[in-house]
């Protein structure tokens, strides 16, 4: 099974390393034929505006929309979650969001980098101990549609959710060395 990691801009390397650590084959995706060749996809953190523009420049926007419509398993982390959302607040009017998750999220909602943080996050689906979750200029999920299952909350706000085969989290599982979410993503929908 090949798991692609979108490699246009952002934290691609650490997702590839995490995939390798859970025994999956991770491959960077920058071109349409590379997207066609993967079984599932991770959209990493980074700048959602830059990634959106580079998706257009690489002619990946349409093929990605098609794969998502075909229910390819996908995990979006932070900026990647914004690409999966239905609505993005405080973003640019021209930035892409594919609506694979019926959520509304507000970009960089905690404030500047000095408000970034890490914390213990209980996730029932992952058992104990809690995840060490690292939030970097993270978005906040402000609306959750009826078909979306919330898997973890922090201070009442959803921070990890899924809808069908689309998963999204506002934190960075690739930064903490805790591989459980990557493992769950690779196994659960297999």
């Amino acid at each position: 099974m090949k798991v692609g990691v979108l490699a246009l801009q952002g934290a691609t390397d650490l997702h590839l390393a995490a995939l390798s650590d859970v025994g999956a084959t991770g491959v960077p995706v920058r071109r349409p034929h590379e997207l066609a060749d993967v079984d599932r996809l991770i959209l990493p953190g980074g700048e959602s505006t830059t990634m959106s523009m580079m998706l257009d420049a690489a002619r990946l926007t349409e093929p990605l929309a098609e794969r998502l419509a075909d229910a390819m398993p996908v995990l979006g982390t932070c900026a990647g979650l914004l690409l999966l959302a239905a609505e993005v607040g405080d973003g640019r009017s021209d930035q892409r969001s594919f609506g694979a998750l019926d959520i509304g999220a507000r970009r960089n909602a905690y404030g500047p980098q000095t408000e970034s943080f890490e914390t213990d996050l209980p996730v029932a689906a992952l058992g104990s101990p809690p995840m060490r979750a690292i939030f970097i200029r993270s978005p906040i999920i402000e609306r959750v549609g009826a078909g979306v299952e919330v898997l973890a909350r922090l201070d009442g706000n959803p921070v990890l959710c899924r809808q069908g085969r689309a998963w999204g989290c506002t934190f960075h599982p690739e930064l903490s060395g805790d591989l459980r979410l990557h493992r769950l993503f690779c196994e659960e929908t297999a």
Binding site: Q9, T12, R30, E47, T49, M54, P112, Q113, I134
Partner: protein
């Protein structure tokens, strides 16, 4: 430290652009910049005008923070921890303790562990990089020679850093102590490099990038993202060049895309030969 280094991870394969006005910042974001660096004057102008170069006025940085949605960095003088305190209070996302500004302390860099905001620092070689990391820098950028549009120093510094990293990975245990002595760097960091084959923090490249091919060159030499200063706003068509450098950084290993984005950009910034420089900015820092 993971939170500080985390933002650097998010900027990889991106371009951080020097901007001096909100209008510049908007052009940078429109072009796909991953972050902007707010400063009073671009390095080419600092070089031309001379005088003491300091932290930018807060109003100018605030106007840029209000204009863009991407991270905003700002520069403090080497050793000027009070400027850094002001920038942290203002709420910038990263501080560049930068040799482009006039140094405030000729012996000491800022103790960066005392801050919540992360720092990037320049380095010309591996020892300098490791000293900055030991002081708490969460990102290293090779210095190059800012404001020249000449890539030769960036290449020298990148090759020096990556070459020594490669040599350390084949050193034996006893040799690592000698490396630490020669690099004037903590042996624990040298040992970490021997084990991982890379710097403990992301390494970006700055100083002299003027064309899409320059960006591709430094990425192929091991940089993980690029800083572009005078190269964009001292060129004929900043908006087009900015976008081209962003695409070149993302697709640095694809010559067909590099060719496409290198067309129709108008003139690049006028470059400077290193031999004619009065001040070598890269020599600042200890």
């Amino acid at each position: 430290m993971r939170v500080k280094r985390g933002l650097a991870e998010m900027l990889k394969r991106g371009v951080i652009m020097d901007v001096v006005t909100a209008e510049h910042a908007r052009i940078a974001e429109d072009a796909g910049a991953a972050a902007v660096m707010a400063l009073e004057r671009v390095p080419a102008d600092i070089r031309r005008d001379g005088g003491v170069a300091r932290m930018s006025p807060p109003e100018m940085i605030e106007s840029i923070v209000e204009t863009v949605t991407i991270p905003v960095m700002a520069k403090a003088r080497i050793g000027h921890f009070a400027e850094a305190q002001v920038l942290e209070a203002l709420g910038v996302d990263y501080i560049d303790e930068s040799e482009v500004l006039t140094p405030a302390d000729e012996a000491h860099h800022i103790d960066k562990w005392r801050f919540t905001v992360p720092f990037v620092c320049g380095a010309t070689n591996l020892g300098e990089a490791l000293r900055r990391i030991s002081e708490g820098a969460a990102m290293i950028r090779s210095k190059g020679e800012a404001g020249t549009g000449n890539i030769v120093e960036a290449v020298r510094h990148l090759r020096s850093i990556t070459g020594d990293i490669r040599r350390i990975t084949v050193a034996d245990g006893a040799e690592l102590y000698d490396w630490a002595k020669r690099l004037q760097a903590p042996v624990a960091l040298v040992r970490e490099i021997a084990e991982t084959g890379r710097l403990p923090v992301p390494m970006f490249c700055a100083g002299g990038i003027a064309t899409p091919a320059d960006a591709s060159l430094v990425m192929q030499l091991g940089a993980e993202a690029t800083f572009v200063g005078s190269g964009i706003f001292k060129s004929d068509n900043p908006a087009a060049r900015a976008k081209a450098v962003v695409e070149a950084t993302t697709n640095f290993d694809d010559p067909a895309i590099l060719l496409k984005v290198s067309r129709g950009l108008g003139g690049a910034m006028p470059g400077l030969e290193l031999g004619g420089l009065e001040t070598r900015l890269a020599e600042r820092g200890w």
